[in-house]
Symmetry: C2
Subunit: 152 residues, 2 copies
């Protein structure tokens, strides 16, 4: 990982001088916890990972858009209370940061195939909480990357 | 739209006291411009909508994860230079805000069916620029909403 720290004005300066490596480890741990809760059908753990302070949105593959904590929570209760819900392993997770917001993308490896996901986390009282999740079909090939032009 | 403005500490306070209605109009206009560029196969317009200052990520349905501006730009050049690329109409677009970051979700209505998308925008020099896009299959029914518990 190449850290690019350059001084700019206002918000960007605050974002870029923060210790990015620690942020990255923390948000990737939160992302791993999401898939651990998913795979172990841990409803309580899943709901604790989602923000309780902010609005949230979730797009499960093939579902309608779910907006607001009540709809999102109900969807996870339905999915994780199903004894046939899939085991999901995250691979190739990478984070990019916008101040106190982190966008994590990763492959979701299921027995049935591979999805790709966008998981947006917000920092709340020192912990990273989910505010948005979308998963959808993806190609199984590894992610395409530029040659390290920026942080990720 | 019910505006919930409450005072909190530091960043959250700054985020919540900002004039949200204007931000919402601006970011939804940027989201509409994205689908206009898509539908009119306007490569230059599409690439201008993406951030040039930050890292970016894009997940087209069925593709591998594309990380970094070069990979993302190449994908749009390939898609939009195809005379058979789909016309896409955005419906039911809604934004939620995390400081200078906005997460827009919407339905993407194509001739062939309906997708759902998560589009993340960052404010740069007063304009909203795309930093992340994912589209994937969705149900055609309208989005599910909580009863206005929060901003959106």
């Amino acid at each position: 990982v190449t850290l690019v720290c350059h001084l700019a004005e206002g918000e960007r300066a605050r974002a870029t001088v923060r210790p990015v490596a620690r942020d990255e480890a923390e948000v990737l741990a939160a992302n791993a916890a999401f898939y651990e809760a998913f795979s172990s059908r841990d409803i309580t753990g899943m709901l604790e990972l989602w923000s309780q302070e902010r609005d949230v949105v979730c797009i499960h593959p093939g579902w309608q858009i779910l907006r607001g904590r009540a709809s999102v929570s109900a969807s996870w209760r339905a999915i994780l209370s199903n004894p046939e819900s899939p085991r999901v392993r995250a691979e190739d997770a990478r984070a990019l940061f916008l101040g106190d917001t982190a966008i994590v993308t990763c492959a979701e490896v299921l027995f049935e195939g591979v999805l790709a996901a966008t998981n947006v986390f917000a920092r709340e009282a020192g912990t990273w909480k989910l505010v948005a999740h979308q998963a959808g079909p993806a190609r199984t090939a590894p992610a395409t990357r530029d040659d390290g032009e920026l942080l990720n």
